[in-house]
């Protein structure tokens, strides 16, 4: 996963979250429709997509979607 657009598409298609690129840097509590429930789905989708293990404690503490994107693409 190389671009933020791919990440937004993944959020849209696999997590069912209607976010745009503008929402990525806002706090998770401000993201429309976000629920902590989505985090596990997102983590599984990211690991499937990147083939990499994401450090889960950091993911759980991530303040924004952008932070999660950087964790996954680091």
């Amino acid at each position: 996963m190389n671009t933020i657009d791919e990440f937004v598409a993944l959020l849209h298609d696999e997590v069912g979250l209607p976010v745009s690129a503008d929402d990525v840097e806002t706090g998770l509590d401000q993201v429309p429709g976000w629920d902590s429930v989505h985090l596990l789905t997102l983590m599984m989708a990211l690991e499937r997509r990147t083939g990499r293990t994401i450090p889960m404690p950091e993911l759980l503490e991530a303040p924004s979607l952008g932070h999660i994107y950087r964790l996954a693409s680091a």
């Binding site: 069912g16 209607p18 596990l40 789905t41 889960m56």
Partner: protein, 623 residues
């Protein structure tokens, strides 16, 4: 387009609700992992929009509680229910509140009248109660207290929803903490005893189902993923939740009256190896060879389903004579002619036969499961009869059994004696149909048929069958109020309610318990809450006879009028005129529900060719 891509496109373009009726077909071929992803998308659908655009799609509320983070169940469960043509409404309770959820009648768990309540539990519920370090005795004590807690919750549970529990898994990661095998054996033995006790809860209590998680784990799903379990308290893997959701989907079909009733099988390469028209009876494989044994195993499973009430039919492109000959005389054949309610072998297209079969059995085509190895035949049936569940097997007969069983098409909460006798009754029915064709008019036929009816208050022993009638009957079901066994038992205890059962028979034999009438006393009135009659026996005067008897009894108990209603569904429009045709006056309509009233001035006699053998005696002030 790939189904998942198509679903995603509909989601993106905001047309998912519009296309909701296509969803079952889109989901039908998806892998478990794809189903969960589809479920993720479907869980965002606007239910109100679906309700408006597809009013015939039944909605099913499921409440989820249990131990740990359970949100992962929503996606796979959404997909499984949608796959079976339902609109799911899944509510997951607050974290860690299952004890109060289940013990308080006021808990949010019961909001919106759920049909299923799932209480998902794992070994973590036990091991968070033990000290560190723990000994086997500590674990056994915590386990015993957990089972005792569940036993108490089940005993006190008084919701009308079917309660679904599960056995507790015992993973190697727990056992391995004990270094000696003797201790592991002690814990393992106590654990199995506890699970056996849990399973017995569903034998002892109606309306309680205990899913055997060990069976799902044996199917290959991993139990848990350490990070998910440790960090997020999501103790079960998506694969296991998918397998669990699949089982719940089967239950949802059963409790919402969408269980399948008919198994229609192709013969060549489905039931036996080879094409009988080419290789003859001597050449088909039904035993003794590698492939023959695989077909024999499949025949055994089909025979077992038929023995439990599934109506078995053969639909084959063949000449009839060699097919019947093989079923009658092949020395090594497992399935026999008498296992089938009908054997059709000719050269017409199969979907016509399936429609005919459904019509003759008086069932909808959507009660049929069709098994065939030929992709062309399968495709044709899927296209012509979208309601039929198609199980496509292939050239490897060893896989037939799993393909047939994996979707639990015929799953029910409980099988009754009536179920087991059903195939024989339907076979009699087909004989009656032939008998009918020898008469000029229906009246002549009924005069010769000699129908007799027993119409009496239901007993507690009949509650399971009465519940099942309300769940399985779709056509002659005036208000389609589905009742679980516990609901029926409650009605039997209710002074103002009365449940009357209809048993019928004729010169060809007994039909068994074929219907029920639900009455309620409302001051001077008797209200018919529902009238249900098996499609096997309607249009023989039984319904008129019982309705007349209801009126006669209402008058005898001092009622001044009888009220009744018809709540239309996709299936019961055929009985929309039942009440007005029998002397009731329409008195209003509300949201499609039509209300009727009978002033008891002119009470009809029952049908002249139907003999009421035992009339119910009105008792007390109840109707």
């Amino acid at each position: 387009m790939e189904p998942l891509v198509e679903l995603t496109a509909a989601h993106r373009s905001g047309t998912l609700a519009d296309r909701y009726s296509d969803v079952p077909a889109l989901l039908s071929g998806l892998s478990d992992a794809d189903l969960t992803r589809a479920g993720q998308i479907l869980s965002t659908v606007d239910r109100r929009a679906v309700r408006e655009r597809h009013p015939a799609v039944p909605e099913l509320r499921v409440a989820v509680t249990g131990h740990g983070t359970l949100s992962g169940i929503v996606a796979p469960l959404t997909a499984e229910l949608a796959r079976h043509g339902l609109l799911p409404d899944i509510r997951v309770g607050d974290y860690g509140t299952y004890v109060s959820d289940l013990s308080s009648p006021l808990s949010a768990l019961h909001d919106g009248d759920p049909k299923l309540v799932l209480c998902v539990l794992t070994h973590h519920a036990v091991f968070e109660q033990v000290p560190v370090p723990w000994r086997v005795e500590d674990a056994v004590a915590a386990l015993t207290s957990q089972v005792g807690l569940l036993r108490g919750l089940v005993a006190r549970y008084d919701g009308s929803a079917t309660l679904v529990l599960n056995t507790l898994p015992l993973p190697q990661s727990v056992l391995a903490r004990l270094v000696d095998h003797r201790s592991r054996a002690r814990l393992g033995a106590a654990w199995r005893e506890a699970n056996a006790e849990l399973l017995r809860l569903s034998v002892e209590h109606t309306g309680v189902v205990v899913l055997d998680l060990d069976a799902l784990l044996a199917g290959g799903a991993a139990l848990s993923e350490p990070r998910m379990s440790g960090y997020a308290k999501a103790h079960l893997t998506p694969e296991l939740l998918g397998a669990y959701a699949r089982q719940v989907g089967h239950l949802a079909r059963a409790v919402s009256g969408r269980g399948k009733k008919v198994l229609a099988v192709d013969l060549d390469e489905t039931v036996w190896g080879g094409v009988i028209g080419e290789v003859g009876q001597e050449g088909i494989e039904v035993a003794d060879t590698y492939r023959g044994e695989a077909f024999a195993a499949f025949q055994g499973v089909v025979k077992q389903l038929a023995s439990q009430g599934v109506l078995l039919a053969a639909v084959s492109k063949n000449d009839l004579a060699p097919v019947l000959d093989a079923l009658r005389t092949h020395p090594r054949m497992t399935l026999r002619e008498e296992d089938f309610v009908r054997v059709v072998a000719d050269w017409r297209v199969k979907h016509e036969h399936l429609s005919q079969l459904a019509a003759d059995l008086n069932l909808g085509v959507d009660s049929i499961v069709f098994v065939d190895d030929n992709p062309f035949e399968c495709g044709l049936v899927r296209h012509a009869l979208p309601g039929v569940a198609v199980v496509q097997v292939d050239a490897e007969p060893a896989l037939h059994v799993e393909k047939l069983l994996r979707d639990g098409w015929f799953d029910a909460v409980e099988a009754t004696d009536e179920d087991r006798a059903r195939p024989a009754r339907y076979r009699d029915e087909l004989v009656r149909t032939d008998f009918l064709q020898s008469f000029d008019s229906l009246e002549d036929y009924l005069a010769e048929l000699g129908v007799r009816v027993r119409f009496e208050p239901a007993t507690a022993a009949e509650a399971a069958r009465v519940s099942q009638m309300t769940l399985r009957t779709n056509q002659f079901n005036l208000t389609t109020v589905r009742l679980q066994q516990a609901d029926v038992l409650r009605l039997l205890d209710d002074r103002d309610a009365e449940v009357l059962v209809i048993e019928s028979g004729d010169r060809f034999g007994d039909n068994g318990l074929v219907g029920a009438v639900f009455l309620r006393r409302e001051g001077d009135a008797v209200r018919i809450d529902n009238f249900v009659l098996s499609c096997r026996v309607f249009a023989r005067g039984i319904e008129q006879t019982c309705l007349a008897e209801v009126l006669r009894r209402a008058a005898a108990t001092g009622a001044t009028h009888v009220l009744a209603s018809h709540r239309p569904t996709a299936k019961n429009h055929g009985v929309g005129e039942f009440y007005p045709r029998n002397g009731f006056t329409p008195v209003g309509e509300d949201g499609g529900v039509r209300e009727f009233r009978h002033d008891l001035a002119d009470i009809p006699t029952g049908h002249r060719h139907v003999r009421l053998t035992a009339a119910a005696t009105p008792e007390g002030s109840t109707a």
